[in-house]
Symmetry: C2
Subunit: 340 residues, 2 copies
């Protein structure tokens, strides 16, 4: 009799069922060569021995891993709980999508150079790779750009570079819609605030959408460039200080992301400026904290479920093509209109 600590193998099942090990393998893999009677015999023996197929061994024999590598890039200077909630939402959507396809997700957290690793497919660990993370970690993007030779199957969320295969929200369309919303509420002098780092492609797209809407309305677009090395909330606070201290003539703020918008709302309150009456604020992302600010934050939210699906499909595709996911306006209190 086998002791509990010894693993039951397909050979044990074969012996008990009175068939060959190859027959056990075929029966458990669902091969149609095996008769129903034989399959039943094998299944019963497997049940009685409490035998589980070793899926890693099985997939190895089949020459594929049924796994996706998912890389979560974090800020080097951030706390463990300071990862952008958007990244977590995309990660959760990717995990759910992978689960639906019976794919495993090998997830790694990478912030420092010692942690950077993108060779999971080369090491036989995954069939494809998905990279999610902050553009603020330039060293990480340098690493992944150098790694991406066009041969590997990699899908990027956000995508610090337009050369890579990325999934992004409809940044241009969403920003245009948000700007039109601001104008429809009676604001006439919105200022766009955001960092224009070389890896910050998404903010650039949002700025272009903002500019397009302003131009279509015959209005002048104003912009404040914030340093990308600050945390996003702090960028919003600094932008408000700059606006107020320099006496810039504006009635609303379009922040390139929700975190900066929340920082701006906080700083307006500290400085005694009423939002939305004196200065309205909108963000972009749809993070949960926007529900709890005062006033609550009007923003644009990406379809995260669609993003998860798109990323998994792309990571498995032979020639991944960049894709956009739709966005929707979330109207709350922070830009309900200026008090005349």
């Amino acid at each position: 009799m086998k002791t509990e600590s010894t693993r039951v193998t397909s050979f044990d099942v074969a012996e008990k069922a009175g068939v060959s090990q190859a027959t056990v393998s075929r029966a458990l893999a669902g091969s149609t060569i095996i008769s129903e009677a034989t399959r039943d015999k094998v299944l019963q023996a497997a049940r009685e021995l409490n035998y589980h197929v070793d899926e890693r061994a099985a997939s190895l024999r089949q020459g594929r891993t049924r796994s996706l590598a998912v890389v979560l890039i974090a800020r080097l200077d951030g706390a463990i709980d300071a990862v952008n909630p958007v990244a977590h939402a995309v990660l959760a959507a990717v995990l759910r999508s992978a689960g639906r396809r019976n794919l495993q997700a090998l997830v790694s957290y990478q912030a420092s150079e010692a942690e950077f690793a993108g060779d999971f497919p080369d090491r036989g660990l995954a069939d494809g790779m998905i990279v999610i993370g902050t553009t603020a970690n330039a060293a990480a993007w340098d690493y992944f750009r150098a790694l991406d030779d066009g041969v590997r199957k990699v899908a990027y969320w956000g995508g610090a570079s337009n050369d890579l295969a990325f999934v992004r929200p409809d940044n241009h369309g969403g920003a245009r819609q948000l700007t039109e919303y601001l104008l429809s509420k009676g604001y006439r002098k919105p200022v766009f605030i955001g960092a224009s780092d070389r890896y910050q492609q998404q903010f650039r797209e949002r700025l272009e959408g903002f500019n397009a809407a302003m131009q279509a309305a015959g209005l002048t677009a104003q912009t404040i460039d914030t340093p990308d090395d600050l945390m996003r909330e702090e960028q919003g606070r600094r932008a408000v200080d700059l606006l107020l201290d320099d006496g810039i003539d504006c009635d609303s703020i379009f922040a390139a992301c929700d975190a900066s918008a929340l920082g701006a709302i906080e700083q307006l309150r500290r400085r005694g400026v009423r939002c939305p009456e004196q200065i309205g604020v909108v963000g972009f992302d749809g993070i949960a904290a926007g529900n709890h600010s005062f006033p609550t934050l009007t923003t644009v939210r990406a379809d995260f479920d669609a993003a998860g699906e798109a990323l998994v499909e792309m990571a498995l595709a032979d020639s991944p093509m960049s894709r956009r996911v739709p966005v929707s306006l979330v109207e709350r209190e922070s830009a309900l209109g200026p008090k005349v």
Copy 2:
């Protein structure tokens, strides 16, 4: 010459180096049987052929996976971006801790019964398992409790049951500290609000810490039980309605978690009650949204890094023992004292 699509194997390296395949395996695994000269020859051949060890095959031969399974339990009714930020912080900490030990993390998102799976170690996919998630998904906990026969190596964050091996914050000590803080600020009639579901062990521990501090101060502890099937923010809103509508004599709220505290703050504002002057509010968790509420939320924050380390250690241990991680008070604006 090999084409690009064909995988280089250890046999190719052996041929090029003029040694046996077994020697290549031993040399690359760092075996001391191999001479330095032979090892150098093998390494050079491997480099020239751009050979990567297939780590899945290698670990399979070694009889261990170098992988941890991580299960993220979500609410069945929640949006993909509504996963508790605490769960995401713990997940990130687990991923970082696993990375430090060169362990892979196989992460799965589980909300519906069709998704429940905890047999990763049985299937030869992982050396141990970590379960993180909401207690609000009772079906998931039923599943994992039934699965946990004490033989498997499983470590739970939070832990819906005291029979399981869990990592939890110092709930009792943290709640006691928070309550003492409330009293030190001049509040005398705090009410504890939280759900007392059978799987809600952490809230129960926080309630006990609250009761202990109140008793030590010679004060009467009041409690409002909220239904666990509501989202946590909504539980906070309902509790405020109940307090105000029933005219319960209280001057502060101790919410069992930050999300409920944020709901309470929001509802107090809607109903024209000033916080912290008329009613102070404290939460428990330390989620980022507490930075953006108005007033910002005073709370207790767990050491997530320590939680990640503890969970990974436990998942690999032969007889995992439950552990506590320290908490620290985060003082902000929501309980600065009643205006007399």
